[in-house]
Each structure stands twice: as structure tokens, then as C-alpha cells.
């Protein structure tokens, strides 16, 4: 475990500034703030313990996010079995029929609620690429999946999100019913 002052300073400078982004992502992925706090703490403990293996000059933020998803997956595996991707793909086949417009007049809460309804695999990719602005390559590395999977999940994830947001907008009487848009 690293203990020298230069290592501490480097950890402070390179790792600590990303705490808020990690927390927000963990909250969205886990759907619960208290568990997100636990996971962020675990991420930093693990990062600190293995910081001697972190290569200076490489992407510390991506490295921390990789640890984050490792911790999240460990946490989820213990309690819940999420539907296999095959099942979520079936869900998409039956639910994605058109390209919905981006609805207006939606609050942050509406958008977050829609994100929370997305299948976990797709939500993670949208969070990493669209919100945290990681390159596809970094997102693939963080999630431990091929880059092609990241691209297809992103495309489908965005479509799901648009569909969900459109549904919320329609419930407010904004936008057109689905039948009228074809």
C-alpha cells in the first residue's frame, strides 16, 4: 500500500477531484443515495490500496470509474439478478418502434426518473459516454465489454431514453400520441 507523502499528494491531486462525478454516477446506477455513498467510499479505499499500480500520466478518472463499476457489479450480484442482455434486447425489439423527438418542458427530475427506468446495461453506457463524456474506448475498458457493444448499447440506450422521456411529456399533455407520429 502506498504511504509516502509524494504518493499521497499525487492521489490527492489525481483521484480526489473526481469524487462528485463518481457519486452522481453511482447514485444513478444504484438508484439509492446511501448505497452510492458506500460504494464511493469503497472505490476510494480500493483505489488507494492499489494506487501504486496506477500508471502516472494515464487516465485516473477512467481508472476510478472502472473500480466504481467493479464495486457496483459486486454489490448488485450479491442481491439482485438483472435480466440478461438477451432479455433486454427482446424488451427493446417490442418497445422501440420509432425515433421519438426530444421532449421539451421536462424537469431534471423527469429526466432522472426516465434514466432510472432504463435497463441497467444501457443506462451505464449513456451515463459514461453522454454524461461523463468518456470516449467509447474508455467506456469499453471501464465496463469490460467490447467497443462495439458500447456503441450499440449507447445507440439503443439513447432511443430508450427518448421513448421514456416522450412518454413523460405526453403524460403532461406535451407532444403527440405515438400513433399520430408514424
Amino acid at each position: 500500500m502506498p504511504t509516502t507523502t509524494p504518493t499521497k499528494d499525487r492521489f490527492e491531486a489525481e483521484a480526489m477531484p473526481h469524487m462528485n462525478d463518481l457519486y452522481r454516477t453511482a447514485t444513478r446506477v444504484l438508484g439509492e443515495r446511501s448505497r452510492a455513498e458506500d460504494v464511493v467510499q469503497e472505490v476510494y479505499l480500493q483505489a488507494w490500496k492499489s494506487f501504486h499500480r496506477f500508471e502516472p500520466g494515464t487516465n485516473c478518472r477512467a481508472w476510478l470509474f472502472k473500480i466504481l463499476f467493479h464495486c457496483v457489479n459486486h454489490h448488485r450480484r450479491k442481491w439482485f439478478r438483472f435480466p440478461l442482455l438477451k432479455e433486454t434486447e427482446e424488451f427493446l425489439e417490442t418497445n422501440l418502434t420509432y425515433e421519438a423527438p426530444i421532449p421539451e418542458h421536462l424537469t431534471d427530475e423527469d429526466i432522472l426518473a426516465a434514466m432510472d427506468k432504463m435497463p441497467a446495461d444501457f443506462r451505464s453506457v449513456v451515463l459514461l459516454v453522454d454524461v461523463e463524456e468518456f470516449a467509447y474506448k474508455d467506456a469499453a475498458e471501464i465496463l469490460g465489454v467490447p467497443i462495439g457493444t458500447v456503441m450499440s448499447r449507447l445507440s439503443r440506450g439513447r432511443k430508450i431514453l427518448r421513448e421514456l422521456l416522450d412518454g413523460i411529456a405526453q403524460s403532461y399533455g406535451v407532444g403527440r400520441p405515438k400513433e399520430a407520429q408514424s
Binding site: M19, Y23, V126
Partner: protein
């Protein structure tokens, strides 16, 4: 869309104590060994440990209550032990040696082990067998696993008045004079039957039919091997 998403996600407030909490946790492993620490440091560490212990207990109880509320009270008996002893505890990586399991079970219940071993579902293995207590009740507990998936076979002595039929549960199957009951919620499947003196459960995250098949396969041998109290 991207900017609206970013705006929405960044609207999530950061708990003011988060940074302090992380920094406190980071200081711990880097600190000197506790026997070098001043007395107040030891006291503070003890307090943190106590608070952590009770917080963990409270969180565990909350989680267990959320899961068990979907089950009848008699099904909850077996499920509670599975949650308490299998899901909330770190499991050993490799199966316990046979002799250890027998000795853990004691002479009264060691005879149940072959009955379980004979009907282990495909890919699964008997990881552990022991006597344990959860919420004041004693259990004979067999833990089976396949990678990170766990299945419990749980046996406990019946208390007066404990009958599945009084819980308005409909038997899912009757075979060879045994009535089988099954309930499921979320990822948890609980199958159970009662003998004259015991309640026997199989709890897993398998599908309802698979879980029932495991119970059916084991029930006959288990019933025969159960001790007469």
C-alpha cells in the same frame, strides 16, 4: 439531449459529509498500527467500529424486512436463515471438508448430509453445512453454490401451531404423502414442507419450477434422515 442529461445528472446534490467520510476511511488503512495510537485514537476507532456495526445491522435488518414482507410468516422462517447466514455473510471460497461438515452438524443431524449431497442440482456443490441461529431460532443449514449463486437447504424444529396449512398457503404439489408449498418474490424462491417435528426449506434464486424440483428430489431422503426428537 447530451447537455440536458448532464444538467439533470449534475443536479443531484452531493452529500456535504461525503468527502469527510471518504477521507476518514482513507486515513484508517494508512494509519499506524493501533497499538501505536494514542488512547483517544483507540477509543475513537472503537466508537467508529461500534457505530459501523450497528449501522450495518440496521441496514441488514431493513434489507431483510424488505425481502421477507412478501412471504408468509412460515416461509419467512427459512428465508430469514438463508438471508442472514448465506446472503449477508461472506461465504468460503472452497467447500468445507466433509469431516468438518459432519462434525459441525453433530451426531443428530450429520445423517442429513448424504441426503443433500445425493440431490445437488447440476453445476452446484455443497459448500458448507453447519448449525446456526438467526433471530433466536436454531437451524440446520446446508449452503450450496454455483459460482456466486447460492442455494440453501434449511431445517428447523417445528414449534407448536406451526403448519403451512394454517397460513392459507395452497400446496403446490402433493407427492408420496408430502405436501409441498412454494412462494416466490423477486429473486427468491422458497419451497417448504413439514414433517411431524421439522420444517424443511429449499431457498434459491433458481426459477420456481427448478427450485421445486430440487425440493422434490431431496424431500424423501431428508424426511427419512430427520431425527425423531
Amino acid at each position: 439531449m447530451k447537455s440536458r442529461l448532464q444538467q439533470a445528472v449534475h443536479s443531484e446534490p452531493i452529500p456535504p459529509h461525503l468527502e469527510m467520510r471518504v477521507r476518514a476511511a482513507l486515513r484508517e488503512p494508512a494509519a499506524r498500527p493501533f497499538w501505536y495510537a494514542p488512547a483517544w485514537g483507540v477509543a475513537a476507532a472503537a466508537a467508529v467500529l461500534l457505530i459501523g456495526f450497528f449501522s450495518l445491522r440496521r441496514a441488514e435488518n431493513r434489507t431483510m424486512a424488505t425481502i421477507t414482507q412478501q412471504f408468509s410468516s412460515l416461509m419467512t422462517v427459512g428465508l430469514t436463515d438463508h438471508l442472514h447466514c448465506t446472503m449477508l455473510r461472506k461465504q468460503r471460497a472452497e467447500p468445507a471438508p466433509l469431516e468438518t461438515m459432519k462434525s459441525e452438524l453433530g451426531p443428530q443431524y450429520a445423517s442429513l448430509l448424504p441426503a443433500v449431497q445425493a440431490h445437488v442440482p447440476a453445476n452446484y456443490r455443497v459448500l458448507d453445512a453447519h448449525l446456526c441461529k438467526a433471530q433466536g431460532r436454531s437451524f440446520v443449514h446446508f449452503v450450496l453454490n454455483y459460482t456466486d449463486r447460492y442455494l440453501s437447504v434449511v431445517v428447523t424444529e417445528r414449534k407448536p401451531g406451526e403448519e403451512f396449512s394454517t397460513e392459507k398457503l395452497v400446496p403446490s404439489l402433493a407427492q408420496a404423502g408430502i405436501l409441498y408449498y412454494q412462494q416466490s418474490s423477486g429473486n427468491f424462491q422458497v419451497a417448504g414442507f413439514e414433517s411431524a417435528q421439522h420444517l424443511v426449506y429449499v431457498i434459491s434464486d433458481l426459477g420456481p419450477e427448478q427450485n421445486r424440483q430440487v425440493m422434490l428430489a431431496m424431500a424423501g431422503d431428508l424426511k427419512q434422515a430427520l431425527p425423531v426428537l
